[in-house]
């Protein structure tokens, strides 16, 4: 699941520069306070115009790059916030729950929820649906010493997302493990949270 987080971050980075003054990621106050105690806080922000500018550098002749350009062009922004701590237990499960609570139905659907008792790694992936189209993805990765939130805003085709695998340093994504459509994803999420 770390690969998912990494992929999100790399998707951000591939787009190159970003922008802040529009739609920054809002974190609950208690989570925002974590930056005071974190060993390292990383914030990455990219907005739509910058992503569209970056997409111009992808070749229209290369099929994979063309698909990637199409995906990036439609995005409104990509935001990442990551906190790294010196020791375990720096943040509470209640603080993470407060973060997760921002992404509630009917607007948001949790499509992936991973709980690792042994490693203590918890990952949640939320899809935002608008008019039966996926309009955003949020990934929350809570590890023992690290908390990462990735927010991709804009229409996203999951099939296109898997096409990015192997490009721009993004690991190959197994299309079979990705939800085929947002609607199916919601149904899956409703049946059982834990995967």
């Amino acid at each position: 699941m770390r690969t998912t987080v990494r992929s999100g971050i790399v998707i951000l980075l591939l787009g190159l520069p970003p922008f802040l003054r529009t739609q920054a990621m809002q974190l609950p106050p208690d989570v925002e306070k974590l930056s005071a105690i974190a060993k390292e806080t990383v914030e990455v922000k990219m907005d739509g115009p910058m992503l569209r500018w970056a997409s111009k550098f992808l070749s229209a002749e290369d099929p994979d790059e063309r698909k990637a350009a199409k995906l990036i062009t439609n995005l409104k922004g990509i935001y990442v916030r990551s906190f790294e701590f010196d020791k375990e237990g720096a943040y509470t499960s209640a603080e993470v729950e407060e973060l997760r609570a921002q992404f509630r139905p009917p607007v948001w659907s949790r499509v992936v929820g991973v709980r690792s008792q042994r490693e203590g790694d918890n990952v949640d992936v939320f899809f935002k649906l608008e008019d039966e189209q996926m309009a955003g993805i949020v990934v929350i990765a809570a590890e023992a010493k690290e908390l990462t939130v990735v927010n991709i805003v804009g229409p996203i085709d999951v099939d296109q997302l898997s096409d990015l695998g192997g490009e721009f340093g993004i690991p190959k994504l197994n299309a079979k493990t990705l939800p085929k459509s947002p609607i199916k994803s919601v149904a899956k999420a409703d049946k059982g949270d834990q995967k």
């Binding site: 787009g15 190159l16 520069p17 390292e40 806080t41 922000k45 910058m50 970056a54 992808l58």
Partner: protein
Amino acid sequence: MKSLRVLTLLLCASTVAAAGDHEFRSVVHSIESAYNVHHMHLPLLGVALFFARPAGVGGLKLAVFEGLKTPTDTADVTRVIESSLGPEWHLFVKVRSKGETAGETTLIYASPAGTHMRMLIVNVEPSEATVVEFNLNDRAIKKWMKEPGEEADNHSTHSHRAEQ
């Protein structure tokens, strides 16, 4: 004739470092004013930057400050830097690391312009600061997009080499 070429190269390379554009000089000046410090004079910096630059990178400028006495925090550093930059500069990455006595802040700004992009990287540590600005051409941008992590490492290594 060879001496003339070398002299011309030295002059050109020095000009790259010394000329700088408005924003770079303004950022350097802001740091000097805010933290009561002066950037160091590094002999033959222009030559070093000319030879140390990675492919596709041009207009490399570097300023190093030592002996910062005022404690800095990320919000303060961001405010100081952004007071010198125009709206075309976008904050891309902000990193705050907590040290034992004071923190370290790294800010990466980008300014896209047609087929190239200007990048400004500011790093402020408890006792020293570094400002680097450079242009990436379209080939370098494509390389960044192909292997972003590797390219970031390359730029970091080259900047450190030039600084030394």
